[in-house]
């Protein structure tokens, strides 16, 4: 990720700190409108409206979850039909080898199980987590991103990135302080 930090040698990007939710929302919208693509907002809480302010596309995670659920449902049905009615059919309590009502609980559980794993693992993979090191972790100040402060980071690899102009944008949007992040 940081291998493209070319402009200023080892500069990874800039980090600006904000104190309140409205301030960071407004600043994020300004960074978005300035045409930056490789920027991010770091907040201790999920902020509704941040998606629009950052211009994030709606996640396609629900489709993955639906797909996983469909796999779970068909696995459940096929497993029960094949094991109890085809591969090893045996009569018990005069029940049919395969009956849909009796197959519903296991089918339902496998649907939920696979869909839930899809949601959890899909979220982590799409987010690139776990990622134990990130250049931002170098900054002592960034530790407040999980406590009570809001940050915007703009990466140096962004085509619009210019150390001075970008800093000016962040400062004019109310970022105090604006810090350099080493790659």
């Amino acid at each position: 990720m940081s291998s493209h930090a070319e402009e200023k040698g080892r500069l990874w990007g800039l980090l600006a700190e904000y104190e309140t939710v409205p301030a960071v929302l407004e600043a994020a919208a300004r960074v978005r409108d300035a045409g930056y693509r490789y920027f991010d907002v770091h907040t201790p809480i999920p902020i509704h409206g941040l998606d629009e302010a950052m211009g994030i596309q709606v996640s396609r995670l629900p489709w993955l979850v639906a797909g996983c659920g469909a796999v779970g449902a068909s696995t459940g049905l096929l497993l029960q039909w094949w094991t109890n009615a085809v591969d090893y059919p045996f009569i018990i309590s005069a029940k049919p080898y395969f009956g849909l009502p009796a197959a519903i609980p296991v089918t339902f559980e496998l649907t939920v199980l696979l869909a839930a794993i899809g949601a959890f693992v899909g979220m982590l993979v799409a987010n690139g987590l776990p990622q134990f090191f990130h250049p931002l972790f170098r900054l002592e100040r960034f530790r407040r991103a999980s406590n009570d402060r809001f940050f915007i980071s703009i990466e140096a690899r962004d085509p619009k990135f210019d150390p001075r102009a970008t800093r000016a944008l962040l400062e004019s949007s109310g970022g105090r302080p604006v810090l350099e992040v080493e790659g």
Binding site: I47, L50, S93, F132, N147
Partner: protein, 485 residues
Amino acid sequence: MSAIPLDLDNTLERPGERAPLVLGKSDLASITEQVCEIAERPRPSREWWLAFGTSASLTFVLFAMLGYLFWTGLGVWGINQPVAWGFAIINFVFWVGIGHAGTLISAILFLFRQKWRTSINRFAEAMTIFAVICAGLFPAIHVGRPWFEYWLAPLPNQMQMWPNFRSPLLWDVFAVSTYFTVSLMFWYMGMVPDLATLRDRARSKIRQIAYGIAALGWRGSGRHWHRYERAYLLLAALATPLVLSVHSVVSFDFAVSQLPGWHATIFPPYFVAGAIFSGFAMVLTLLIPVRHIFRLESLITPRHLDNMAKIILATGSMVGYSYIIEFFIAWYSGNPYESFTFLNRALGPYAWSYWIMFTCNAIIPQLLWFKRLRQTPGLLLVISIFVNIGMWFERFVIVVTSLSRDFLPSSWGVYWPTWVDLLTFLGSFGLFFTLFLLFLRFLPIVAMAEVKSVVPAAGLELGPHRGHGQYWGEIPHQHDEENER
């Protein structure tokens, strides 16, 4: 920002106004400090060691009993013919029922936008995980030869046989293991941002590494939060039918059989209501002392206790209604075996257990109609313990009375637990409390990121409120109008 007075009565309903869910100082940093401080104390208190020592000893008793059981065989238990289920299944249903509150709070209340859940969901979910661990133990040891447990899974084996998917007992294997897995993922995922907070505050190398690994490198990224919230909503939507299904499937273990007193269509909803009832009771039993010991009164306010008490009252009334309607149906069905079973429950040799159950579950929780009682933590604690006792006896009544006297008087029997049964049950409490005390010691016991998003510092009061969930209205900024055009 002015702090809300700690003694404010936030249980009042004022139309058009939201009751504050956090009292006292409620800026972001003070919530972090208040919750993290508990997991950051250099050494636990003497009371913690005392509680931990007791529960760890009981856990040792549990493992000793398991060793004795495996060494000697199921004969050390009180089970017999006809009562082949006994304590193991009673305890299983008891623990898995308790395990319903956590995911109900985290999933169903999330979908219904009940924001008061944020202060208690972490706690209740942890309790769920530990209760389901205790629950899973009992069927596993009840099979008698636990080294053949893999027969329950559809694994190819040398006998070329498959499990019988037409049996509710196998449905239960899938239901409980799915519930455990999904609850664990839900719990852990909710905890990741808070683990990142603990990582960022950690001073020692060991804590930095341990919380660093657990936090997965979370850095509060807006892009991450977006997918995270999506995934959380999806998990809540998936977990909601799951919560309702688990105890329904557990009830199928009974209802799909032919036995009088078990073979009833009321079982799934009756079991689910009972599970939520007992789960909330256990949450209160644990929460009230913890709230007091760790001074969490500002986060877990009278309103939280009041709401939980109301859920206990509602589900307790449903359970009480089920008890009564079972009698009506037994009479109305005209089935002599069914009628006998219920008369036997109320008047037979196990009548004492029936009346303990009825008093604890159907009568005592009715006290919660009084607001004053809902707001007296000490009394709530006592009532919640009665509910725990009553719900254990409910399962005792269902399992033992129906099995001990079924259709033919010649096959009737009597069941009494042995000392091994009793110590194993006691030991399961040891396991539960050991895990719980470790949770209190090392993990964030309140979902900080979620609580922070319901306090005014999160910007709730700014802009038009959208009226659902922790949302902050439109972005105060001119470019939005251009985008819409």
